[in-house]
Amino acid sequence: MSKAMGEVLLEANAVAKHFGGVKALRDVSLTIRRGEVYGLIGPNGAGKTTFFNCMTGLYVPDGGGFMFNGAPLIADAPHQAAERGIARTFQNIRLFGNMTALENVMVGRHVRTRAGVVGAMLHTPATRNEEAAIRQRAIDLLHYVRIEDRAEDLAKNLSYGDQRRLEIARALATEPSLLCLDEPAAGMNATETEALRELIEGIRRDGTTILLIEHDVKLVMGLCDRVAVLDYGALVIEDVPAVVQKDQRVIEAYLGA
């Protein structure tokens, strides 16, 4: 990594979003630093996924905006977010079901490769080399998330835990500097969650900053360097896990006053 650890990677400035009368996000401001695992928690409907969608360009915020890597993120251009280095997974897994696991990861290389229609039709040496590199990188990534033996299976036929892993591998294929995981442990049993924790820690060690939305408080508190809590679309607190855990407002938000 060329950039120093600890410097600001992503900055959200007063991001607001409403759907009709529902205020899903109320001026949320937070900063994610390079190299950390940043947790975003909150009760159901607190606005976590909405925040994600605003950041990755699927929604256009009604107010505020994001700075990423020192430059503003353009709203309403999801493919550019990936180009800039933000990759994400989805709460309800969104794989390319009728493509193989390997192909899913290969699609992830799209944004970092160049071959066009003419190159593909003429089968030029440059295209063939790039294609071989894409395939090799995809195989490596399947190894990385340990589902290499499912490479030729259709994504939709993978087990639930493997689908989650495949989605992470596909996101990593875009070479993100910020990897956003939307409830990766949802529906997982204790063993699977533990394996997921190891995977996330490995990704962090290899230098990718991670934004983690999660319900599993134990996982978040054990894994994250800093945690932000959302409730009714507003930021309650942003601090290290030890402080967040003891905060009265957080306890109220989760257990009800």
Binding site: N92, R109, A115, T127, G187
Partner: protein, 357 residues
Amino acid sequence: MMKWLSPRSALGIALITVALVALPFVAAMGGQAWVRILNFAILYAFLALGLNIVVGLAGLLDLGYIAFYAVGAYTWALLASPHFGLHWPIWAILPFGAALACIAGVVLGSPTLKLRGDYLAIVTLGFGEIVRIFMNNLNAPVNITNGAQGITLIDPVKFGDFSFSGTSQILGISLSGPQKYYYLLVALAILVIIVNVRLQNSRIGRAWQAIREDEIAAKAIGINTRNLKLLAFAMGASFGGIAGGIFSAMQGFVSPESFSLIESVMILAMVVLGGMGHIPGVILGAVLLTILPEVLRYAVGPVQTAIFGKVLVDPESLRMLIFGLALVLVMRFKPAGLWPSPERKRELAVKPQEVAP
């Protein structure tokens, strides 16, 4: 890095080559009409493979595909017939026709980018009809397309002095016009198959399939869905344009009624019935759907006479009834198509897993 073929696939290719070379002579034994039917089967395979890029790979349901065929056909008809007194050579018209069809594809594609499925189908259906109605009415105030009468005396395909119409002697073998066109069409079909295979297994082809599977996920990993959808429309349309040009030259006559909605529907049926997204399946679908109605045309009457001693039902209506029934039965018992891709077959065999919330 060419891999050497295994003996088995080399033998397979040799057999297919022999069959492809011999086929027009076998068909000619039943009369030149059968060679023409064969030619149309290949032309439709070409069209179906063009549509397969749009529907099978990118998953964009296009019910107006015949419009691009019409654009290509009329381009050839106008630039190589006495209608305007123009007689452009093939190497100028075919690319020009493909380019015009490509532009038409982008024109259709751009307003429909946000539409999917049924909604897209309706818009493309409208587009197909608009093009046909244009061809029908562009004879006044300035006569461009000659309206419903169509354009006649269109030049055949010619390379230098070698014309594809009329009989000619090559290496002591006498070849009729349709037989010569057959070899031209086979060459073009092989070209479009290679392009299809290469596109399918390329970065662009994978991106199309990703859009087909899940557009939001495709966007999230950095695929510019707008540009890639336009590209799919443009590519599919170009193939339609080339096919149209050849059709025009082969028939020597075009009129708007060749480009009706039923033609679009038939080409889509070839793709779906053969096996969407699977190249051999699409070819099979095209060949069957072209030849079956013709076989029925010749068979329905005599079979009735043989069984009942007389013709009970009008052969023409019974023919389409049987044809329609065959389509229904195929879709009922082979929902993935007659020859689906191995992956899709597996998918339909294995029940999709219940995915937890």
